[in-house]
Symmetry: C2
Subunit: 301 residues, 2 copies
Amino acid sequence: MKLTILGCHSATPRINTHPTSQVLEIRNHIFLIDCGEGTQVQLRKNKVKFNRIKHIFISHLHGDHCFGLVGLISTFRLLTREADLHIYAPKGLKEVITMQMKLSDSWTNYKLIFHELTSRESELIFEDDKVEVYTIPLDHRIYTNGFLFKEKENERKLLLGNAEEAKINKAYFRKLKQGFDVINEEGELIKNDTVTKAGSAPKSYAFCSDTAYNESIVPIISNVDVLYHESTFLEKLSHLADKTKHATAKQAATIAKKANVKKLVLGHFSTRYDNITEFINEASEVFENVEVAEAGKTFEF
Amino acid sequence: MKLTILGCHSATPRINTHPTSQVLEIRNHIFLIDCGEGTQVQLRKNKVKFNRIKHIFISHLHGDHCFGLVGLISTFRLLTREADLHIYAPKGLKEVITMQMKLSDSWTNYKLIFHELTSRESELIFEDDKVEVYTIPLDHRIYTNGFLFKEKENERKLLLGNAEEAKINKAYFRKLKQGFDVINEEGELIKNDTVTKAGSAPKSYAFCSDTAYNESIVPIISNVDVLYHESTFLEKLSHLADKTKHATAKQAATIAKKANVKKLVLGHFSTRYDNITEFINEASEVFENVEVAEAGKTFEF
């Protein structure tokens, strides 16, 4: 998996700070997560291929998470896109986008499929043979979801030498990778674990923004490889975090610790902070493996 | 008057090309004309004071002219703006913006006043004691207006020495600037033109984008100081201009010539052109005083 941060600041786009948007590359998918104003330019800066984006996940309908979407949809149209585009977003966005297209008489020449989210419980919203995506209900001023991206169990790795020595026909290699025992060319049963080893552990990523401190997400995100958790404020302004239903760096770290995640990435910083390293200092007192997001930064895991 | 180009390209925002937006400074007003995605960042780059923008004019509801507006309105709210904001735009935009605010539960703490435009005739849409703004009905794929910004007649200039010599009480100076004859301290009638001279000529600016070649605008914009006219294409692609109801550089220059304007500024270039100077070459064969727009460029007149 590879995570690219396109923007990780809250509220208003400025010259050097961009609102929330990220690209997650996972098993041949390119998933776009949130789409603040200016996202399409950030996609270009980070050389993301537009036509490879087929699924967009929108956490909530505050502008710094979705005002760039209608422009991106229009650009796809101008680029004569043909592939379907799936958008997973709170109910309401479909109506706005449809009205904007109607007013500009600019209908897409590709299929635009909205998956409107309304549930207050975590639910499976995307699945194929390699990946699952679940919502993570968050606690913000309006209806908001985070998203949990999980690889499915990886195939077993073939031990080619062992398999050849065991006289297994190549036609059975696929079955072996899927974990089955097979019959060799001499009619003997070959136990799977003598000719394969476990595949690499499936990875997982949890995106949690925007949200107040909310322990109810801990069971959903427990043991993920990377948790992106918003930390709009430092503890000194925890009263503002409470009031606006955002989190502090310390609160994000506490969630990371309780959920036993492997790495914490902090983001959604208020533009009032010039020195982002203070977020690391505050969080690392609670949870050690922490980094800050930054536009253009990538995380591979 | 001072015109600052924030963006002058068509269709999609890219790293170095910005969709349409301009700032016109005219008699203490700062008028924003169109507001493509990214306009608020361009305003910051060009150091335009956000709280001085009180009137925004939107030509039409294609995204490259209006997708930045909802974000700007939100940013004004976050900056705790109190002053009224007037938006002059085709009918429909109010409904979209209102829906977006409703969905994000983010109502403005200032008065947001929409002036919905529907007329197919040129109409006066703003007036105070110094400035008038008229629509310029354009010919595009959807309902579109250009805007004509006109200073009113300037006051006469007082010839202070003459006025003192004529023994006119200072209390009458205001009347003199307004063109009236007055009575001096000795009871004599003083003819206005003996103690004043004509004020500077009032200036005017016409913004015309997006539009096909359309001679019906000529009487409305005749003799303006500066005409901004779109030229999305060069003549080689005039079939595309016809098809999409845009203009070529040559067509823009023809309108400038017929309207006897003082200067033509070309803009709304298709992002397919790397070399914008070709637009100058093509237009100047028809109309000599022509320049190209460029993000960050200013025109004073």
